[in-house]
């Protein structure tokens, strides 16, 4: 009889390193760290086979606080380094930790390409709509008019939508969570980990020092039921206190609209059912913005395809192993003896 010895199940605290955490008191990153540690425990992650790769910024300090392998690299380039790690050893479980400036400004190109290639990693974007570590400049996700040291009269640029960017880049998994909504965030992180291929998770993270309360419009406790909608595959897209409100497709405008079930002839059947394999719907959900719409959270899109490194190694396997070795290669042309 074969007996398999299960490794001891670890608790969230077992994934914490011995390093003192150095984020500002009250920073949303603490909550995300907690959610990630819980996720690792829940999925039974093997610390020695797990690698956290980060770029630069407040979020990028993340790997130091985990008892896994960690690589704190340079600004914007974590996806490139993570791709190399996966190509060298596809068995490793690789997570990329990034911020809005890191992911969408200096590293935008790498984000585009790691998603397009579908490298099997989890990318966690800590979006706080500000450059924190450099003391508060507006970022590529800052809303127009953001006052910051570099934009004293307010920023004039339009922000990029992280999830729409990811979908446009060809991501096969796009999800959203909020730093302080632990249960929902852990669910999303687990789904991201379960997805084979590049998983993109945007986490709304409050910067308590430079952009405090920027997401209050939909994350403040009292507005959550009306200002958020959590997408669940196969379930109607309902939200509100008694799940009375829902999203309906207006086919004439090809747009979503908010309806109340039971009012103006709206029945439960009129409410859209979330299909996580529908990229068009995912895009529509990602684009919803307050105050007219709730912010969509949860797994917006999940439609797996073969990961990049699996296809690469398929080609390597197809090339075969060279029996003759290098000496044969060196002679594989016109030669002559002297």
């Amino acid at each position: 009889m074969i007996t398999t010895i299960e490794p001891p199940r670890l608790a969230p605290k077992d994934y914490a390193s011995d390093q003192e955490v150095r984020w500002c008191p009250g920073c949303g990153d603490y909550a995300i760290l907690k959610a990630v540690q819980k996720t690792l425990a829940d999925i039974g992650a093997v610390a020695d086979k797990t690698v956290f790769v980060s770029g630069i910024g407040c979020a990028a300090r993340f790997p130091y606080y985990l008892a896994t392998y960690g690589f704190h690299t340079i600004h914007g380039r974590a996806p490139a380094i993570a791709t190399g790690v996966k190509l060298a050893n596809p068995e490793l479980d690789v997570w990329v930790i990034t911020g809005d400036g890191d992911c969408l400004s200096i590293g935008g190109n790498h984000t585009l390409h790691i998603l397009r290639r579908n490298v099997d990693v989890q990318i966690l974007l800590f979006n706080n709509e500000i450059y924190g570590l450099t003391k508060g400049q507006y970022s590529p996700t800052s809303r127009q008019g953001t006052r910051s040291p570099s934009t004293p009269q307010g920023s004039v640029e339009h922000p990029v939508s992280a999830c729409l960017f990811a979908l446009g880049a060809g991501a096969r998994f796009v999800a959203r969570g909020v730093d302080t909504q632990q249960a929902q965030l852990v669910d999303v992180l687990k789904a991201a980990h379960a997805h084979r291929g590049a998983s993109f998770v945007e986490i709304f993270q409050n910067c308590v020092v430079y952009n405090d309360g920027v997401f209050d419009e939909f994350t403040a406790k009292e507005v959550v039921p009306e200002a958020q909608i959590v997408a669940q595959h196969g379930q109607p897209l309902l939200f509100g206190k008694d799940k009375a409100r829902g999203l309906r497709l207006d086919p004439k405008r090809l747009a979503l609209e908010v309806v109340t079930v039971g009012e103006q002839g709206v029945s439960a059947a009129d409410v859209l059912v979330h299909d996580q394999t529908n990229r068009t719907l995912a895009g529509m959900l990602a684009a919803l913005e307050p105050p007219d719409f709730p912010v969509a959270l949860g797994v917006l899109y999940n439609d797996p395809a073969t990961p990049y490194e699996a296809d690469v190694y398929k080609q390597v396997a197809a090339a075969g192993k060279q029996v003759g070795g290098l000496n044969e290669l060196l002679k594989s042309t016109k030669t002559w003896s002297v």
Binding site: S17, H72, A80, G84, A88, L92, H113, G320, V338
Partner: protein, 616 residues
């Protein structure tokens, strides 16, 4: 006496010869030259080639900027350069003639395709009158042939379109040149059969064109001053030979180095750039030897993926040219700070900025040695010839893995494409330098160093009990934890410098390539100037001058005896294809009044240029 039988063709013996095929980008001059090279190698001559082509892929036909050329020098004695002056110039059109004529020696031979010297082509080349008809070519022997018509006649039987028939002209010209220097045609015929295996009429037509060109030389009524030549076999070390380009030798050297290091996998990542792309192409076809290739989204991602691969226990290698290396600079700093092995190949080209992508230069020496923020030492090696690329690539892998450091390997556009005969090494006989991955968790910290090499341990993700964090932020001397301690930064800066400086004890002492270890003059070079410097020093010594050739493979750190060696000469002259970079590094390192000889024309040095400087 009646001459009822044709006299055997006259042949004169030559020690060396230099010929250049020149035509439009679409005329197939590179493959013509390559085939002449193969036949010449098989004839037992030593040789060196210089392919020279425009950046434009298909420049408008007949223009001067669309001229593509292939030069070869071959002989019965040592041949180390493609030659200063041409003995024969094959000009497929007027543009090829006007661009290349300046390099033909007085008394040399022009072979020109009469049919291509029409009014339209003459105008495009800037000729007011036909140079084949006025006295432009008076100082030369001229073989005016209607190659177009001779080719068309030769391939008539194969049912080709006139365009297809026209494209066989290069093979006709090749056939004629093979006749002129008494080469065989068999390897070319076999190559054409393989190349056009799917279109037999094209194969047969091209073969017919080669044969017709050859037969024309053999039987035609040639002008009295046109003769054939014989070039005796070169006296070289016995063994099995092939021709090799710098790109091929580099690719194989990397694979051999990986094997010697006992590594199972190499990740080679690059981004398309001239002239470095050829290495990516070569390795992409060699996956069966353990290389995974990755065409990244940009230069930064290319080096980033290589660093990620090294971190995960493979050999990370990336390659580019000057502008791309500039983009990789910040990542080099990361590899230095995290002390990971990495090989970076820089195929230098003329700059700054885009410069002249297809033209060669050695102007990235400062960039390689010094071009990073902060105190960030790494190892810099330079390959001297196409064949040398093999050995230097192996050495780069050895030093990168032994010292846990990036190594920049400098080649250039000339080396990348140039071909030379190569004594095929026995890879099985190469010495091994197996790497050791850290597996023991006892006492492990990521920055614990080997007492001798000062290299930190290579601890790879996936190893039980060794989970740790590294990064570009300054690390505590042993634990690797983040540290802003002032004394620690001083200590880390010192140890990074000491580690790389210590490599000098692990590399050979600087030798003398030719001449004596002291004397009146040392000509010091690095990289692809080896050939012209060597030839120049050889000639100068034959003339009785006290001059020696010193050639550097290790440019950072310098070999430990270099200062002492150079002090033994009255004068030190450094020819470089840049504005004087090694000169400054040598002056800074040894406070010696080193003299420079700069040339930045996008072309290799001529032997005569260096000889003149030696005599000055």
């Amino acid at each position: 006496m009646a001459r009822d039988t044709k006299a055997p063709p006259r042949r004169e013996a030559r020690e060396q010869a230099v010929i250049r095929f020149a035509g439009d980008s679409g005329d197939g001059m590179q493959i013509t030259g390559s085939q002449f090279t193969v036949e010449t190698a098989l004839a037992g001559n030593d040789l060196a080639t210089f392919p020279d082509f425009p950046a434009e892929i298909r420049a408008p036909a007949g223009t001067t900027f669309g001229v593509s050329a292939f030069q070869i020098q071959f002989g019965s004695t040592d041949v180390l350069t493609a030659g200063d002056e041409l003995d024969v110039l094959v000009a497929m059109n007027p543009a090829a003639l006007t661009v290349n004529l300046r390099d033909l020696r007085v008394g040399g031979t022009v072979v020109a395709d009469l049919a291509a010297f029409n009014e339209r082509n003459l105008l495009k080349a800037g000729y007011q009158a036909n140079p084949l008809e006025d006295d432009t070519l008076a100082p030369y022997q001229v073989l005016k042939l209607d190659i177009t018509k001779l080719t068309t006649d030769a391939v008539r039987a194969f049912g080709l379109s006139s365009k297809e028939a026209h494209r066989c002209r290069n093979m006709w010209a090749l056939g004629l040149m093979l006749w002129m220097y008494g080469r065989e045609r068999q390897a070319t015929i076999e190559w054409l059969e393989r190349k056009f295996a799917k279109t037999p009429p094209i194969a047969r037509a091209n073969i017919a064109a080669v044969n017709a060109g050859h037969a024309f030389g053999e039987t035609a009524e040639m002008p009295a001053d046109i003769v054939g030549y014989t070039v005796a076999k070169a006296d070289v070390k016995p063994g099995l030979y092939r021709t090799v380009s710098g790109t091929e030798a580099l690719a194989w050297g990397l694979l051999a180095g990986m094997r010697s290091a006992g590594l199972e996998r190499m990740l080679f990542s690059g981004y398309p750039i001239t002239p470095a792309s050829a290495l990516l192409h070569t390795l992409a076809a060699l996956k069966q030897y353990g290389v995974v290739t990755f065409q990244a989204e940009d230069e930064i991602a290319a080096i980033g993926a290589a660093i990620g691969a090294s971190y995960a226990g493979s050999l990370g290698v990336t390659s580019s040219s000057g502008p791309g290396i500039a983009l990789k600079t910040e990542m080099l700093g990361l590899a230095i700070a995290t002390e990971l092995p990495l090989v970076v190949i820089d195929s230098q080209r003329a700059g700054p900025s885009t410069g002249m992508p297809t033209k060669t230069e050695q102007s990235d020496l400062f960039q390689a040695v010094l071009g990073r923020n902060a105190d960030s030492p790494l190892i810099v090696l330079a390959a001297a010839s196409a064949g040398d690329c093999f050995e230097v690539a192996i050495e780069a892998v050895r030093l990168a893995t032994k010292y846990m450091t990036p190594v920049i390997l400098l080649t250039d556009g000339y080396l990348a494409h140039a071909a030379e005969p190569w004594l095929i090494p026995d890879v099985d006989a190469l010495p091994g330098f197996p790497v050791t991955f850290r597996t023991d968790p006892a006492g492990f910290h990521p920055y614990v160093r080997d007492a001798k090499t000062l290299a930190r341990a290579w601890a790879v993700p996936g190893t039980p009990g060794l989970a740790h964090r590294i990064g570009g932020i300054e690390k505590s001397y042993t634990t690797g934890h983040i540290s802003y301690d002032p004394d620690n930064h001083q200590q880390m800066t010192n140890v990074r410098a000491a580690k790389v400086a210590g490599v000098a004890a692990d590399i050979p002492e600087q030798g003398v390539a030719l001449g004596n270890s002291s004397g009146a003059l040392a000509v010091v070079g690095w990289g692809s100037t080896y050939g012209p410097i060597h030839q120049a020093v050889k000639q100068a010594r034959a003339d009785g001058l006290d001059v020696s050739h010193v050639h550097l493979r290790y440019v950072s750190p310098f070999p430990r005896n270099l200062g002492e060696l150079l002090r033994g000469y009255g004068r030190v002259l450094v020819p470089e294809m840049n504005n004087g970079q090694l000169v400054q590094l040598l002056r800074a390192a040894y406070l010696l009044p080193v003299e420079g000889l700069s040339q930045v024309t996008g072309k290799p040095f001529k032997v005569a240029t260096i000889l003149e400087a030696i005599r000055a």
